[in-house]
Amino acid sequence: MSRLWPIVRREYLERVRSKAFIVATVLGPILTGGLMIMPILMAGQVGKPLRVAVLDASGTLGPRVEAALTLRKRDGRPRFIVEPAGPGPYEARERALKDAVLAGGLDGYLELPASAVEKASASYYGKNVSNVIDLQTLQDTVSETLTGLRLSGAGFDPGRVRELTKRLDLKTIRLTAGGEREDHGASAIFSIILMMMLYTTVLMWGQAVLTGVIEEKANRVVEVIVSAIPSVNLLAGKLLGVGAAGLTQFLVWALSLALVSLAGAGFAAAGGARMPEVTPLLLVSFVLYFLLGYLLYSSLFAAVGASVNTTQEAQSLAFPVFMPLVVGVMFFPMVLQSPDSTLSTVLSLIPFLTPLLMFLRITVLTPPLWQIGLSLVLTGATILAVLWVAARIYRVGILMYGKRPTFPEILRWINHAN
């Protein structure tokens, strides 16, 4: 043990003291917190009202539509400022409005044809026609007005009809063992963000092990070290040290996630918006599946690093190693869609996919405990097997220079490493 500690400490300090680590550790929570809080803040943000005019060909619709637009409000503030279309014949008014829009005095104008009510059609002319939300509001407003006119024309009371044809407000409620809670639209995005964080960090810290091994080999430090301690100590110390740095980062993130969700919950409640919920199970599995993913992939990366001489050489060998991670990411929409299907369950139990997919399932539903347990056992066993193989490749590879070994050669290293 005493010969492991110096390695662990050296690796840990080297990572934790690096600028990249400090930046990522501090920026991570700020970005995530931002991503969670931003939508809430933005919900309260309303842009400037749209300046519009109504070009009416029917001669009767204009004032009604103008009144409806003026009255239209979102979050208590008017959405439209209706400018008069001006006097004169139709063509002159149209030309004047066009000029006003091009000159910037007006955002756009609405053209109501004489048959607007019967055909339910109108046109909007504006410099900017990609402000979807505003245009949707405009459409809804005009549509409601025209519908009202059609209804009264057919002898119905528009107010009464609106009441009778009220749209369904579907609330989605997620059942969990702990009780029921209203589900939020933010949940899926939140799950994806957390899973992508897992993906990125497992890859990032695995790469850190990879480049660390290659550098030690290139600097020839490795020979000095393995002349003092067994190579397996160096490998174990490296995995633990780099892993501890990753864990430190993760704990900082998990802690800020918990804080943000606590602070955000109160904040969100006040603003009437919704905030993803962070449960202890989620936090624990976030950290746990990071550790499993890290150990699994970084031991493979260590074996790759030991087999090559340069980072460039490592690229081609590293790709098959992190392929399963990419596959895991590719499967995520399907798992998110039906997290408890047989396929999702099976995929999330495959050790190389477990860290991402089982975690993803945990974020959207609570899988049966036996599944979580089984995923931990399977992944744990795989890690031990991979470590055993990686240690043998590592032991021989770190002292080999020159030509990159072929696959049969690597197999031979595994078979009799001495």
């Binding site: 005493s2 010969r3 110096p6 390695i7 050296r10 080297e14 030690e216 600097n219 020839r220 430090v221 490795v222 020979e223 000095v224 070290i225 393995v226 002349s227 003092a228 301690i229 067994p230 002292l399 080999m400 220079y401 020159g402 030509k403 050669e409 001495n418």
Partner: protein
């Protein structure tokens, strides 16, 4: 008390179809300064790696200070590989602490020893600097400190002088002699025959994985007789090599070393030389290690025993 520092018996090591070291037996007595010589690819590094238990031999036994070459004995040896290895972005003092620690020395002890060594090798102002800010010669000295900080009883140095300027070489030689006086056993692997000749009392010569010479430097020289001449002259001395008395001529630039055939008369060569050249020096000397090295390796057949790519030379 065992008086052998390193003992190899019938050690053989092969890599993918060829033998890097074959049936090698060696004894390095305690307190000696032992020169391990051999051309590139002769198997020196492989041998040293086996001694350091970085590699395991295919057959044969290795003992360090009377114990099998396992982990317990490793802390009592210091090993400086030919390819220096330090972490470039690590502060020198921390690096030294780390190296001492993995050799089982406590941080406190190591910290107490560091200033003395930095002082001794002229690195006193560099302790807080990162290794990649040091010059090549300084890194070489730093590597040496990392090798001796745990106060090993046996010190194995692969090319200890490479990268040092003449002042640095003198400092290093002084340090090595001090260590020898304190009873440290030194094993030097080097191509610099001058260094070996000045420091070593024993040498072994390895070629193509086999030992072809072993013994006290004085004995080795005696074995190779007093049939060597040093001749300095003006003029074209090319004809010397074709004289019937001459076996081989080694040109050192300002003088040549002439190896005579057995039973040849030095005076005959002197007469021939005086006829055709302006001779400024003519001396019968002991053969240099360099000459013995070249002669024996040529005799034994050259060519590396380990092709590049399988292991470092």
């Amino acid at each position: 008390m065992n008086d052998t520092a390193i003992r190899l018996r019938g050690v053989t090591k092969g890599f993918a179809g060829h033998l890097a070291v074959r049936d090698l037996s060696l004894d390095v007595p305690r307190g000696s300064v032992f020169g391990l010589l051999g051309p590139n690819g002769a198997g020196k590094t492989t041998t040293l790696r086996m001694v350091m238990n970085v590699l395991g031999p295919d057959s044969g036994t290795i003992e360090i200070l009377g114990q099998p070459a396992d982990h317990a004995a490793r802390d009592r040896i210091g090993y400086m590989p030919e390819e220096r290895g330090l972490y470039p972005r690590m502060v020198l003092e921390e690096q030294l602490l780390f190296m001492a620690e993995i050799k089982g020395t406590s941080r406190r002890e190591a910290r107490a020893r560091i200033p003395g060594w930095l002082q001794r090798l002229g690195l006193a102002d560099w302790g807080r600097k990162k290794v990649n800010e040091l010059s090549k010669g300084m890194q070489q000295k730093a590597q040496f400190i990392a090798t001796v900080l745990h106060e090993p009883e046996v010190l194995i140095l692969d090319e200890p002088m490479s990268g040092l300027d003449p002042v640095g070489m003198d400092t290093m030689r002084g340090v090595l002699l001090d260590l020898k006086r304190q009873g440290t056993t030194l094993v030097l692997s080097s191509h610099q025959m001058e260094t070996v000749e000045r420091l070593c009392d024993r040498v072994a010569l390895i070629n193509r994985g086999e030992k072809i010479l072993d013994g006290l430097v004085s004995d080795v020289k005696k074995q190779h007789g007093t049939n060597t001449l040093v001749v300095a002259f003006d003029g074209d001395g090319a004809f010397l090599a074709s004289l019937p008395e001459v076996a081989r001529v080694t040109d050192f630039g300002r003088y040549v070393e002439v190896k005579m055939r057995d039973g040849a008369d030095a005076q005959a060569i002197l007469r021939q030389a005086a006829l055709r050249l302006r001779v400024s020096r003519f001396e019968i000397v002991e053969p240099s290690l360099h000459d013995i090295f070249v002669a024996r390796v040529t005799e034994h057949g050259s060519g590396p025993s380990s092709p590049a790519g399988v292991s470092a030379p």
